[in-house]
Amino acid sequence: MNTLKQAVTDFGWPRIIIFLFVVALFIGAPFVNVRVDSSFTDVFNRFGQNAVLVLALVPMVQAGCGLNFGLPVGIIAGLLGSTLAMEFGLVGWAGFLGAIALALPFAVAFGFAYGFLLNKVKGEEMTIAMYVGFSIVTFFAILWLLLPYSSPNMVWGYAGRGLRTTITLEGYWGRILNDFLALRIGENFQFPTGMILFVVLLTVLMGFFLRSKTGTAMTAVGSNPDFARAGGVSADRMRLTSVVLSTVIGAVGILVYQQSFGFIQIYNAPLFMAFPAVAALLIGGASVNKASMLNVIVGTFLFQSILTMTPSVINSVLQTDMSEVIRILISNGMILYALTRKTKVTK
């Protein structure tokens, strides 16, 4: 009994409520004529679409840099990758992989600068990360207008320059992962095998990395900096590595997101993209200084289930569209809960 109580406290009552809420949504769905199979299709799609962005948060949490509210730094690198790949006329697999290849150097460079900055501001990372993210998104909004992109599929038709707010990936690499080996069962259920495999691949790689020598050193820096220093690990270098890694995966994450969503969204769209990812990670059981692969998978699945199911289920029960409010309360409530939990490290 005591261990159960302990387990509940460790897991946290908000997560239990959210978990029960999701279960209730799935049980209640058939009663209000929401098709469970098509709902599951949506959930799997959105799970794959968002999981990599959530995964991107893990290295920084492990290295003690906190929740990466500066995820847009990586997202911007990804946007550069995909827009450049389109500009060069790459399509299909060449397009998707080319976008990743083109995004990588930017992600590494941005990650270095961003990580260097965060190393200078230990203790205030999260607020600063947030504003670094906002700054880079708004700064790049100017560049999207000014950079000499010329592909007619991307620029405004009448002006002949300046990227559009949303750029369709139709004819390039839209849904290329989703449709790879996609499994169709019945009329309403489709499983995006390719995308899920890609997510699993990245997750497994990350899992291996965290168990490697560098990975364990990184975790040591995050959980016990003094001990790590005594062991001859450079905290700054480990933190820098984690930020670069986080930024790179963030870039890949947005590319996965785009191919599933079918559009590249630029200008102000990435401004708040870090928040749902952070909420998902925390719902999965992570804390501000500890996150695992399981947290990523479970959290993304639960959070995306809520986002998919509430509009249909809650709306048919209450007859009003309250899904937006529910989303705001759940995601931010979860972040708030994690931030206000007493962490064992602080004195």
Partner: protein
Amino acid sequence: MSKTIDVRKILADNLVVVIFLVITAFAVPVSGLSAQFIIQELLTRIGRNAFLVFSLLLPIMAGMGINFGMVLGAMAGEIGLIVAVDWGILGVNGLALAALVGMPVAVLLGWLAGEVLNRARGREMVTGYILGFFMDGVYQLIVLYMMGSIIPIRSPAITLSRGYGIRNTLGLDSVRQSLDTLLAVRVGPYVLPMATYVVIGLLCLFILWFRRTKLGQDMRAIGQDQGVSHSAGIAVERTRIIAIVISTVLAMIGQIIFLQNMGNMATYNAHKQTGFFAAAALLVGGASVSKATIPNVFIGVVLLHLMYIVMPRAGAQLFGQAQIGEFFRDALSYAAIAMALVIYAWRKRANADKARAGLRGGEAAGGAK
């Protein structure tokens, strides 16, 4: 020799201000706007925004950083205005009543925010920011779903056609600019909203007075060192909560003043940018996360708004697109906040390192945090 070091220090202390000044000084002539237009706009905007920026001062004094949770106060002010408009209270009476209605809401929210921030020591700013997001959800729940269904609303004109929930845009005709025009003074070609200025002036006096009270002294002590204050017998948690409550109440009044000048209220969006603007203004005015003064507020409001006035036109003149100017001013405001935060964190760490070095040197440098 020492003089050059001084200049460098002053520059470093006011880096954000200097960068802002240089860019704006460049953009003003490019925009081609007349001095008269710019000055009139600034005079109006000082009245509109200064009060909101002032609401950030006390938490900074108490060492809690920038109170991004001030948007809770803004929401309370909006609820007050909805009630005043619904009851059909006109003019300054309407504003005063809105403030009175918003007061208990703001106190409650401020107390709640204070409790939350006390549980998130060392990361008050990011927590306050997320708290603002969270309470935005609660605000929507109340205003969009409960008003008109559970909370009685008299006027069908302000409710959505479905019968409950407040409309997306609330016309504030009944109180529009009533404070600004209460005592509008003409000086040459300019119109000064003197009544608004008087209110802001009273607030300045309040803050000056408050700093000298026992409570104000306690807040400053806590801002310096929580541990020492605690051993000196100051109720640290309580004082921090009071700082946030006052900040929230001031933000509530500030938002009412802001909205009466605008004349319309975007019911669900009016508060979303409040914290960002106030923080940007204060930091652009040369304040840091640990120290902010009354002149910082005024310099900041003038500088930030000068940029907001001229930038779209400057963008249009330079690049043929006003949008570039708009993005540029947003980027610059965000960057100003980021930079001020970085400088603050940088310095805090440098001080901590110095203190640690002192300890290692065997000196009796106590209180390394």
